[in-house]
Symmetry: C2
Amino acid sequence: MKKTTIKDIARELNVSTSTVSRALRDSYEIGAETKQRVLELAQRLDYTPDPVALSLLSSHSNDIGVIVPDISNPFFALVIAGIEDVAFAQGYHVVIYQSHDNYEREVMNVRHIANRRKDGMLVSLATGTQDYAHFKALHEQGFPIVFFDRICDEIDTHKVSVDDFEGAYQATEHLIKQGCKTIAHISGPPNLLISRRRLHGYRSALLDYKIPIVEDIIMSSEYNSQEALAITRRLLSSSVKVDGIFASSDNIAIGSHAAITEAGLSMPHDIALIGFSDLPITGLLNPPLSTVAQPAFEMGRSAAELLINLIKNPKDDRVSISNVLRTGLVVRESSLRIQ
Amino acid sequence: MKKTTIKDIARELNVSTSTVSRALRDSYEIGAETKQRVLELAQRLDYTPDPVALSLLSSHSNDIGVIVPDISNPFFALVIAGIEDVAFAQGYHVVIYQSHDNYEREVMNVRHIANRRKDGMLVSLATGTQDYAHFKALHEQGFPIVFFDRICDEIDTHKVSVDDFEGAYQATEHLIKQGCKTIAHISGPPNLLISRRRLHGYRSALLDYKIPIVEDIIMSSEYNSQEALAITRRLLSSSVKVDGIFASSDNIAIGSHAAITEAGLSMPHDIALIGFSDLPITGLLNPPLSTVAQPAFEMGRSAAELLINLIKNPKDDRVSISNVLRTGLVVRESSLRIQ
């Protein structure tokens, strides 16, 4: 089956191809009657415009690129669901890239998005990224970029995050109120702003409640369960006996949960455990995991709305919006000592 | 900063733009000396060709589209990692789409991939897909398509799957050998071939061991933990007392695991449980979940190799390859009654 082209339509109607092309683009240069004849025939012949050729004309692809560290992290999957929700409703297609927390891969993805004429990009930074030149250059050329979750403070554009400090403070305060005296923290990679803000929330809660901060029980892990399992084993075999753990993410907490169980310790009585994110799996663990809920879907919606606004109104980038969403404490059996 | 164009190079060297364009494409029509002058100046001015414009000339984008039902399923994330491993090594960029198990969304994704001049696509079918016309039309036009995991029997192209029948048979046989007498099966959606093949493996093992098949304890769930939790609650409250459950996927098994725990039953003594996939989380559950390992990363590698071969040698599509990978039993505490 041969694809219908503008030439076919032009031949059939005995007009020039440029007339057809302008009629299809609804140009003011073409009369209403001609437009109607062209559109009717185009529909009858099942003509679909070539979007690559069109994008050369219009410089718009209606594609949005999204870069996340790791699609297997359900948090990012939920954010992407929120992004798609807004984007599809406004006629944008979402194309997903993953950096695997690797700087070089992130740079490749950014180049691909710019080169393939996507209209804009939504980014959550890779752990390995310490240099932001690949974003800066594009941002200065006016390319629409919005950061979410793992945001970049050095680039003056719209950002969506949650109140990581407040969420971490609440989680730590909850453990204190459950009677924990020696609360460890397993933080994320220190070069990520979210890790530092959550660590700061933990420290502030201990300070406010006059609980001494023990540096030996503040550890750091990648945001994955396997490394957190190893780190928690090390924590549990150290000389300091902890009775509470605040993990910087649910993926870290899942590793801690397994290490505590493996050590024959009970949750919440020997150790009360709380994570951060409220991933769908947390409620299904044995015992179910307490956590800090992040509005992941809402984060995606908000980031997509800001980006599409930036694409449609490029002048609006003069004032950068930082949308900070609220977190909520979700108390389950893993930390609930006092009913 | 203005981007260098072919026009800038032509002006500087006092040649025509078509000479520059042909020199950059290494055309035989241009002499070696001119080619060298053009390439040197292009490099000095940091000229980068516009890939969209180039793809109109060459009809190759070096992009591969991948459609999976759900990126938050770690199985698909692992398959995609395998795809990326092969694709990047061969200079292809991987662009990820999700169908959310929805037929209409899958059709949109397929159109987007074809319209954006991707060189080929790798597909795992959506649960909701019962009609394959959107693939058939493209396949007949010679567009390279390879199916993996949730494959489509109606389209004669390369496919990569695991031996679902054999894996399911082994899982069921393992439960029988652990002394289970009344083994339930929570199957996946029946329109997916993988669900039917796993169900078939379960039935065959029971037949071979002369264990009566009880239709009331063969249930069906979407491949997600939340629905499986509800289905397993129903199973556990029914009049038939089961002492073993074979779940058609780990995501289903995670829901069953939570339902069994919630009912105050112990694994493996009250109920022995086994899943299918060997997702990273399974070893971290309490108790750790037995499962059937699928080589997800290898599946992705194999699918990408078949697709790239099809892109490079379009004539090779006359013989369709069905690559069936082997599964392996992974026995953990949730089913290990006899040490």
